[in-house]
Subunit: 328 residues, 2 copies
Amino acid sequence: MTAAEFLEPVQADLAAMEDFLAPELRPQERFLGEYLAHVSRYRGKRLRPALVFLVARSLGRVTPDHVRLAAVAELLHTATLVHDDILDAAAIRRGNPTAHTVFGTEQTVLLGDYLFARAYELACRGSEPEIAVFLARTAQAICVGEMLQIRNRGNLEIGEPDYFRIIEQKTAALYAACGFIGAHYGGGGPRESGAFSEFGRNVGIAFQIADDLLDLTGDERVLGKTLGTDVGNGKLTLPLIRMLEVLPAGERARVRQGLLRNGHDGHAGHDGPPGWRALLGSTGALDYAHSRAGDFVAAAKRAVGSLGAIPLRENLEAFADFVISRNA
Amino acid sequence: MTAAEFLEPVQADLAAMEDFLAPELRPQERFLGEYLAHVSRYRGKRLRPALVFLVARSLGRVTPDHVRLAAVAELLHTATLVHDDILDAAAIRRGNPTAHTVFGTEQTVLLGDYLFARAYELACRGSEPEIAVFLARTAQAICVGEMLQIRNRGNLEIGEPDYFRIIEQKTAALYAACGFIGAHYGGGGPRESGAFSEFGRNVGIAFQIADDLLDLTGDERVLGKTLGTDVGNGKLTLPLIRMLEVLPAGERARVRQGLLRNGHDGHAGHDGPPGWRALLGSTGALDYAHSRAGDFVAAAKRAVGSLGAIPLRENLEAFADFVISRNA
């Protein structure tokens, strides 16, 4: 199933979300409208809202709460991207110059704050305050995950458990929330909410592993964003962690030295220690990361499978496959 | 009435708020606890929570909602300070090094995001989602006010209407919200909510004018924060706007040139064009700004006065006087 195929049942829902968001993002101040129009171009496949709707359609109904909360998930995601690009000193996002390169760092910090505030405002408009609390907690998890990641920048001793603890919070928490919201407002009980939350969590982890792989091996022109920033920023992701783990001690020391020097330079886009790209392949580290991502996709499918023969199960499975097979 | 005197009736309420906040700000991750402990040292007189409680006590009752929402106001304020200090490149806040100088800019952007998320989480915990929506909108106003301010950096044509539009949003909106919340949960009807909202708004404007005056004329040792950043950052506040307005054309051009050069340098703490400090006095610009601040204090008192002989009226009036007489 292609992305167009598995997303087909929720295209109208995604359009409804855009219609819902459009007037919300038309502020009084013209300059702010310009900023918001710019970052709305970051929106790609809208995987998080699509997950909300796919789960809802699978359980049988899409409600106004789904539309509103899918919009909240997308706004929270956009707000974190806007701030992330500042932190990563990334210049390009979805083929567009990043907000901070156009509007300046200061305006972009505030723009992110504004987007967060809009997201929380929409989150509060429902009848269940617990859901708004839950989403605010999800946003906290994202922040904590990112803070942990930055704290570990240049930490060449970082291991897999640290890596997974970081990406569970910074990425998987929001996917899990989308699965939960889809089920909760779709008429699902605790069993469905739990299963789809677990589906989202595993998909989110797989997504992040794939994203980290793309940063190392992807094509900037296809992805439309600055790549190689992880190594340049001294950020060790799963392939690099694995590579260092399996290298013979002497070689490991040499590569670590190179990465360390790199980290001290602190310049994004630095090329890293000599030969490291070839080592990613020859040590099997890339294959290993792909295979780990596949494990999480399989776990996501098992979570859906636990609910038996439900509608759109194939679409949900294709969704899970997609997050690790995408090249953009 | 001294600050200790007018705050006396709400000291127990402020302590209750601290007790409420303490466990909320004890996160799982030790590093985050350290960050939060650092920024909690920014808390000074806690004027915004004090306003919530003074209004509530004036109307007769302090509820758990007051305690919770006063904490939200303080967290929102702290979050904006944390991000502001990055934007202003300020090094000192309340005698402590600012968060970004200790933890780095990236962690501090995320710490601000985390504090916002905590604030919204607490805002959503009540039974009235409209109040959480209202506070999220207040946060948006703060962001918009600050964005407008940054857009006008280096704009030497900025006039009083622009200045007031900026400070109404970036500062007065949160004070107005505190007045409203105090009245709304204190058993006040629309008349009381309106009057105390207006009280807060005027106090907030007066506070900001006084703050801008202190940036020009205050004592860093007494204030415990970096001063003179406004001129260094090309930010024209009321005294400078007035000074340029009343200067003879030739002199105005000379001073503007100096400020312009300054703005292009872009270095915080730059001394500004020669002689400008003396001009602030000799043109009457400082007196004018003091007098305008006094007008807003008077308007705040009229708003309270419209409610007749209410309890703690003197304390509320002393609160309004305090925001423009403080030297720290």
